[in-house]
C-alpha cells in the first residue's frame, strides 16, 4: 500500500465517486429538515414515515414488485428453454434465434416501448399492468438467455447421457440432472432480471398510466414538483432491499457462483 500511493489515491477517489452520492442520499433521508440539504439538519425518521404513508409510493412499490416478479418469471419461462434449445438442440436457424432474442439489448427501449404501446395497449387493449409485464419481459429475455446459456455452456453435456444410461427417461433426466445443475445459473438470471426490471425507467415511462405506475417513475414524477427528503427515504429503502437481496444470494449460493462461474 505504501509503495503505491498513486494507486491508493485513485482507488479512494473511485470509491468516493461511487459511494459518495449514495451516502449523501442515505444521510439526507435521515434528515430532520424540510429540504434536501447537506449536511442534514438534525436527525429523524419522519421522512421514512411519510414515504411509507404516502399512497402513491406504496401502490407504485406494489406495482413494481408485481411487474418485476411477473416479468422475471415470463422471461425465465421463455429464456431458459430458448437457451437450452440454442445450446443443446439441433433446431435449424439457431444462430438467428439467438440473435433475435438478444436484439432487445440493441433496440432502444423507447422504440420497444412505443411499439408495445401501440400494439398491445391501443391495439389489443391489454391493461397497463399486463403491457408493463410483457414489455419488461421482452427486455429481460436477453439476460435470461445469456446468463442461463453461460452456465449451460459450462455444464458437461454428457451428464444427461449419463442419467439416461442409468435408467432415467428424458423427462426425469431433465428434472433430476439438467435443471439442478442449471439452478444457480437460473437463480442468478432471475435476480438480475428482477433488479433490472425494478430499476427500469425508460420503458416504464411510456407504458405506465394513471393508477399503474412503477416506483422509479413515481419517484421521477415526485421530484418534478417536490423537493423534500421523502425521495431520499424511498431511495434508502430501495438500497436496503437491494443489499438484502445481495446478502440472501450470497448466503444461498455464493456470489462467485452467480457472477464467477
Amino acid at each position: 500500500m505504501r509503495r503505491r500511493p498513486l494507486l491508493t489515491a485513485l482507488c479512494a477517489l473511485a470509491y468516493l465517486f461511487m459511494l459518495g452520492p449514495i451516502l449523501l442520499v442515505v444521510a439526507v433521508a435521515f434528515s430532520g429538515g424540510d429540504t434536501i440539504h447537506f449536511p442534514p439538519e438534525g436527525l429523524s425518521l419522519k421522512w421514512f414515515g411519510k414515504a411509507l404513508s404516502q399512497h402513491s409510493f406504496t401502490s407504485a412499490l406494489g406495482t413494481s414488485v408485481l411487474v418485476a416478479t411477473g416479468a422475471t418469471l415470463l422471461a425465465l419461462l421463455v429464456g431458459v428453454p430458448l437457451a437450452l434449445a440454442v445450446q443443446r438442440g439441433r433446431l435449424p436457424g439457431r444462430r438467428v434465434i439467438e440473435a433475435l432474442c438478444l436484439s432487445p439489448i440493441v433496440v432502444p427501449e423507447l422504440v420497444v416501448g412505443l411499439a408495445l404501446y401501440q400494439q398491445l395497449m391501443v391495439g389489443l387493449r391489454v391493461t397497463a399492468l399486463g403491457t408493463l409485464m410483457i414489455g419488461h419481459a421482452v427486455l429481460l429475455i436477453p439476460y435470461a438467455v445469456r446468463v442461463t446459456g453461460a452456465s449451460l455452456a459450462m455444464a458437461d453435456p454428457m451428464l444427461e447421457e449419463a442419467a439416461r444410461g442409468l435408467g432415467a427417461g428424458p423427462v426425469t433426466a431433465f428434472f433430476r440432472v439438467t435443471l439442478p445443475v442449471l439452478a444457480p445459473g437460473i437463480l442468478s438470471a432471475g435476480l438480475l432480471s428482477f433488479i433490472t426490471s425494478f430499476n427500469n425507467v425508460p420503458l416504464s415511462l411510456l407504458l405506465t398510466g394513471p393508477g399503474t405506475t412503477t416506483l422509479p417513475v413515481e419517484m421521477l414524477h415526485y421530484v418534478e414538483f417536490s423537493f423534500d427528503p421523502v425521495v431520499a427515504a424511498v431511495s434508502t429503502l430501495l438500497l436496503a432491499l437491494t443489499v438484502a437481496v445481495a446478502v440472501v444470494t450470497e448466503r444461498l449460493i455464493g456470489f462467485n457462483k452467480v457472477f464467477g462461474r
Partner: protein
C-alpha cells in the same frame, strides 16, 4: 448361451463420413473386450451405438439376444463410464452411485447396502459424502466405475476411462479395473487407443481400422501374429522388410541379432549392411542397420559403432509373414 452384445452388419454414417462400416461383432459374456484402433477409427461411435446414444444407419444390435437397435439408453441396462466421468456435480458421491438404483425404484435399505458395497469395491467408502469436485481425478474415475456397476449392468461400457489420468495412475487403475471386472464377473467393453492397455486387460482384442474390423482375437493370439502391416504397426512392430525367399515380413527388434564382423552366424537369413545408429539400452544395444534400401532394427551384445560393417541375422521362426496387400477398406479414409 446368449451373448450380451451382438452387432450385425452395423453401419453408421455422419453426413458423408462413414464412421463405422458393416461391423459384425459378438461380445463374449463375462469377458473383457477391448475395442482398439487409432484416433477416428470409430471406437466411440461403436460404443455409443451399443449404449443407445446413437442409432445405426444400417444393421442390427442385439442385447442378450433380444432386438435392441432402436431401444433408448434408459431401457438397455448398461453401465457406462465416460471419458470425462460425467459425475453429477450437485450430488454427493453416495447419491451419484445411488442414482441408477433410485431410477430402478430400489428400496431404501437395499440402496444403502448396495451403494456401500460398490464404494467398498472401489475403495472409496470414506468419501461417500464428498462432492465430485472435491475429489482427485483417480477418485472421480472410481466413483464413475462404482456408479456404473452398482446397477448390475448386463454390460459395462468404458470409453477411454483412463486417458485423463497421469501415466503412473493409469497403470495402477488398469489393474484395479481388471480386479473389479474379475470380482463382479461383469461383461466389459473397453474403448482405447493404447495397445498396452488392451494387451493387459483384454480377453478379446478387436482392432478397428477406418470403421472396419481389421483383426480380432485374444491378445496372445493377435500379438504374435498380426494379420496386416496396419495391425503390426499399431502393436508397435517396427521392422517391415522384404526378405529374399520370404516376401514381406515383420519381426520384433529383440529377435533380430546384429553380428559384428567376424562373429559366426548360427544359421538363418543374413543381410549385410552398415550400422547407422546405435542406442545403448543397458542390457543390450539397439542398432539400426542400413541394408540395401531398407533399415533393419536389431539388438546386439557386441561392441558396434555407427559406420561399422555388420550382418543381420533374421531367425526364420520369428519372421511374421504379412499378406502381400492387406485389403484396404475403401471407406472413411477416402471420404474424410
Amino acid at each position: 448361451m446368449v451373448n450380451p452384445v451382438e452387432l450385425d452388419g452395423v453401419t453408421r454414417e455422419f453426413g458423408g463420413v462413414t464412421a463405422v462400416q458393416d461391423l459384425d461383432l459378438t461380445v463374449p459374456e463375462g469377458k473383457f473386450t477391448a475395442l482398439l484402433g487409432p484416433s477416428g477409427c470409430g471406437k466411440t461411435t461403436t460404443l455409443r451405438m451399443i449404449a443407445g446414444y446413437l442409432a445405426p444407419t444400417r444393421g442390427r444390435i442385439l442385447l442378450d439376444g433380444a432386438e435392441a437397435t432402436r431401444l433408448p439408453p434408459e431401457r438397455r441396462n448398461l453401465g457406462m463410464v465416460f471419458q470425462s466421468y460425467a459425475l453429477f456435480p450437485h450430488l454427493t458421491v453416495a447419491k451419484n452411485v445411488a442414482f441408477g438404483l433410485r431410477m430402478r425404484k430400489a428400496g431404501r435399505e437395499e440402496t444403502r447396502r448396495r451403494v456401500g458395497e460398490a464404494l467398498e469395491l472401489v475403495g472409496l467408502s470414506h468419501l461417500a459424502e464428498r462432492r465430485p469436485r472435491e475429489l482427485s481425478g483417480g477418485q472421480q474415475q472410481r466413483v464413475a466405475l462404482a456408479r456404473a456397476i452398482v446397477i448390475r449392468p448386463s454390460v459395462l461400457l468404458l470409453d477411454e476411462p483412463l486417458s485423463n489420468l497421469d501415466a503412473r495412475l493409469r497403470v495402477q487403475m488398469r489393474q484395479e479395473l481388471l480386479n473389479v471386472q474379475r470380482e463382479t464377473g461383469v461383461t466389459a467393453v473397453l474403448v482405447t487407443h493404447d495397445q498396452d492397455e488392451a494387451l493387459e486387460l483384454a480377453d478379446l482384442m478387436v482392432i478397428l481400422r477406418d470403421g472396419r474390423l481389421e483383426q480380432l482375437g485374444h491378445p496372445r493370439d493377435v500379438f504374435p501374429a498380426p494379420a496386416s502391416r496396419f495391425v503390426a504397426e499399431f502393436l508397435g512392430y517396427e521392422n517391415f522388410l522384404t526378405v529374399p525367399g520370404h516376401g514381406p515380413v515383420t519381426i520384433r527388434p529383440e529377435y533380430v541379432r546384429v553380428l559384428a564382423a567376424g562373429e559366426e552366424p548360427p544359421g538363418g537369413t543374413l543381410l549385410s549392411g552398415t550400422a547407422a545408429r546405435v542406442t545403448y539400452r543397458g542390457t543390450d544395444c539397439l542398432v539400426a542397420v542400413r541394408a540395401g534400401d531398407q533399415t533393419v532394427l536389431g539388438t546386439t551384445a557386441a561392441e558396434i559403432r555407427p559406420g561399422d560393417e555388420v550382418r543381420v541375422l533374421l531367425p526364420g521362426d520369428r519372421l511374421i509373414h504379412l499378406p502381400e496387400n492387406a485389403p484396404v477398406p475403401a471407406t472413411a479414409g477416402d471420404t474424410r
